[in-house]
Amino acid sequence: SGAPAPGPSAGQPIRLALNWLPEPEFGGFYEGVLGGHYERAGFAVEIIPGGPGAPTLELLASGQAEVAISAGDDLLVKRSRGVQALGVWAAFQNTPMGLMVHAESPVLRIEDVPAGAEIAIEVGGPFQTFLWARQGWEGKVKALPAAGSVGPFLADPARIQQAYITSEPCVARGKGAEVRFLGAGEVGWNPYGTLVAVADPAPAWTDDFVAATQAAWEAYMADPARANAEIARKNPELSAEILSCVTEAQRPFLVGEDGLGALRPERFDAMASTLSSLGLLPPGATGAAAMRPRGAAQP
Amino acid sequence: MSVERTPSVGQPDRAATAPAVRFVGLGLRWAGAAAPLIDGLDLELPAGRVSALVGASGCGKSTLLRLAAGLLAPSAGEVRLEGPPLGPGGRAFVFQSPNLLAWRTVEDNVSLPLQLQGRSEPAAVEAALSAVGLLGARALLPRALSGGMRMRVSLARALVTRPSLLLLDEPFGALDAITRRSLHGVFAAAWAERGATVLMVTHDIEEAVLLADRVVVLGGQPLSVRAVRDIPGDRPRPDSARYAPAAIEAVRALEAAL
């Protein structure tokens, strides 16, 4: 970044809305606060945990958050429905989403799912729509509503279930099940995860915030202990085993071929065309405008 | 329930199917009341006869009728119905308020007691309705009736099963002189036909003397029998019997006891 960005006034307040409960998938943000990365960059960050269906982009759009954590597909769809938001950084280079099967299952890759199988999944969600369209599962594989519990999965060794690498596999392992995680990225569904979004047009402090975030996440990757302790405090239902299981399991998904945090316009365009082929975006939609490369000139 | 039945013990002829009503050492105390309403009352009302109960407002006449019907359990003593057992339609009660089922027409209110015994006797219903002069109102709902009409429906309902024990709580209270006189006739005819034991609460001593074989004056706290007077002479008596010197004397005497 060559041009000297106008320095933010001391303690620029940032409300950062998470799209889930405090968990390791947000570890870097906690590290950013605890390790003083944000403070040193002139930000006073308040992390607002979310929950199921947390409307983070909506909070951003209605001015109740300055930074919203979202996902690549979500951002594109909501932009098309009136949310003025811009992706500026992403923790997960590869989507943490995928399918989970029992370890003894003959299904080794998503393509192996046989006709007649049943998958518990967020029915009607973009991933399900994508899978059925792309894999030709329409009429062959049954989509069962995932009721937010891994109970039925554990009870049935033949069960296939939608999962996040940051959650269900570790829960299942904690319950003594051996499972295999089949990442969605391998079959072409790969939106960025834990995507940092700010208002569009981007506020002046964006680059400084992104830089601080990058530093914080690098620190978290190096030593997650302090942030994880904070996460455990905020989310006491998370057992120590699951916490460390998730922290390790998510690593490979965080760093992609572009390193940590990068955004590539082509991937947004690709996701946009995938979504429009699924009818979730108007035909011919492009995605690059939904992101801003690091250090882009201020409007 | 302390209502007991003992076998008939030589009642007069016409009482063959009707019970005598005997209150023995009867006591009643309302929940939460300081003093008992009734305390050790003894009274016999003969089988197959008409007994009239008179007494001040609030003294306990309706309560006594409820006890006789077995609708209220006495706190002490007992109510004995002496005579042949009563069938389910053998007993009838005309409550002080008409107590009609709001969702039934006049006709269906009157046929209720028959229906409860699985009987369907349109002729009996029609006869009862015509006796109280309500044939024209048979299809009306209670809300469209006048006060007196409601009372008459209640009377018809009581008569329709031709009961052996008839308990009447101020049945003619809200009726004009003519309707009343015609109902006296209906009542007398019903009685003559069946020879029922009748207990009738009335506030009208003249009426009591005209209609009853025995008039009981009640009063006091706790309730006691102030006077009992048997009225001689066969019934039904013509309305003019009201003006007979013996009747006038009886009325005077009973009023004095009130």
Binding site: S62, K142, A147 | L101, W103
Partner: protein, 259 residues
């Protein structure tokens, strides 16, 4: 004295216009994904008319059947409670448990037992509609004129006769009040059941709400919500009509009694 028909329609019309204007105004200041305006919802209704219709029919079936089952169980239990205080003490805690049962919590069980599709919706509708009917029956059957009970006793009426000819008719106003609540609840109950137990075959309003919410198609979500309200409206007015027919002629609360 409810005024002329013209006057009595003026306020509803004004309110409807007011609601639409307020909605449109609010929507114009919020992103579409949060609150679509009336026009885009109308568009969604028109465009997805067939899907909405088919979904509403299927949800209506589940709600109706659930309401039927819930009412039968609720009214039956109400009679049981009338006849046995011990039964009431024994069963009421479980009735309360059922009323407060989050369907999500037992969704896996329901699905295992009933399979996917309408049965879960029916069960969920029955679960929520049963309690208001139970309460209505309980209150209505007990709230009878004591002198009329005496009348039935006097004639040696059996419990069943007392129920059929006295308590049941006299409980009707209370039961219909319960039915008004249960009617709407059965619809939302079915929808919640469809959230967790429907796999899109057949399409249902719950599935549609969930699906459209997931794909941020909020206009369709709102269209489905409005369809659900219309459904409840139909059940509700059917109940009101039955009420007016059955108890209108004799119950003071009906018809002309208005202040």
């Amino acid at each position: 004295m409810s005024g002329t028909p013209a006057r009595s329609m003026a306020l509803p019309a004004a309110v409807a216009v007011g609601v639409l204007v307020a909605w449109a105004g609010l929507a114009s200041r919020l992103p579409e994904v949060l609150l679509p305006g009336p026009i885009s919802v109308a568009h969604a209704v028109v465009d997805r008319w067939e899907l909405l219709g088919r979904s509403a029919l299927s949800t209506a079936g589940s709600a109706g059947l659930g309401l039927l089952i819930g009412s039968a169980v609720g009214l039956g239990l109400g009679v049981g409670f009338l006849w046995s205080r011990a039964l009431e003490l024994a069963v009421y805690p479980y009735a309360l448990l059922l009323q407060t049962l989050p369907v999500v919590a037992v969704a896996p069980l329901l699905v295992v037992w009933l399979g996917y599709g309408a049965p879960v919706a029916v069960a969920s509708a029955a679960l929520v509609s049963f309690f208001p009917m139970l309460t209505a029956a309980h209150v209505g059957l007990l709230g009878v004129d004591p002198e009329q009970v005496e009348l039935f006793r006097l004639y040696g009426a059996s419990r069943l006769q007392e129920l059929r000819w006295l308590r049941a008719p006299s409980a009707l106003p209370a039961v219909f009040a319960g039915l008004r609540t249960a009617a709407g609840l059965s619809v939302i109950g079915a929808i919640v059941g469809e959230f967790v137990g429907s796999n899109g075959e057949p399409p249902s309003l719950g599935y549609l709400v969930l699906r459209s919410a997931r794909s941020a198609d909020t206009a369709l979500t709102f269209a489905a919500v409005i369809a659900a309200a219309c459904l409840a409206g139909v059940v509700y007015w059917a109940a009101r009509t039955a009420e007016a027919r059955l108890i209108g002629p004799w119950h003071p609360g009906q018809g002309g009694g208005r202040a």
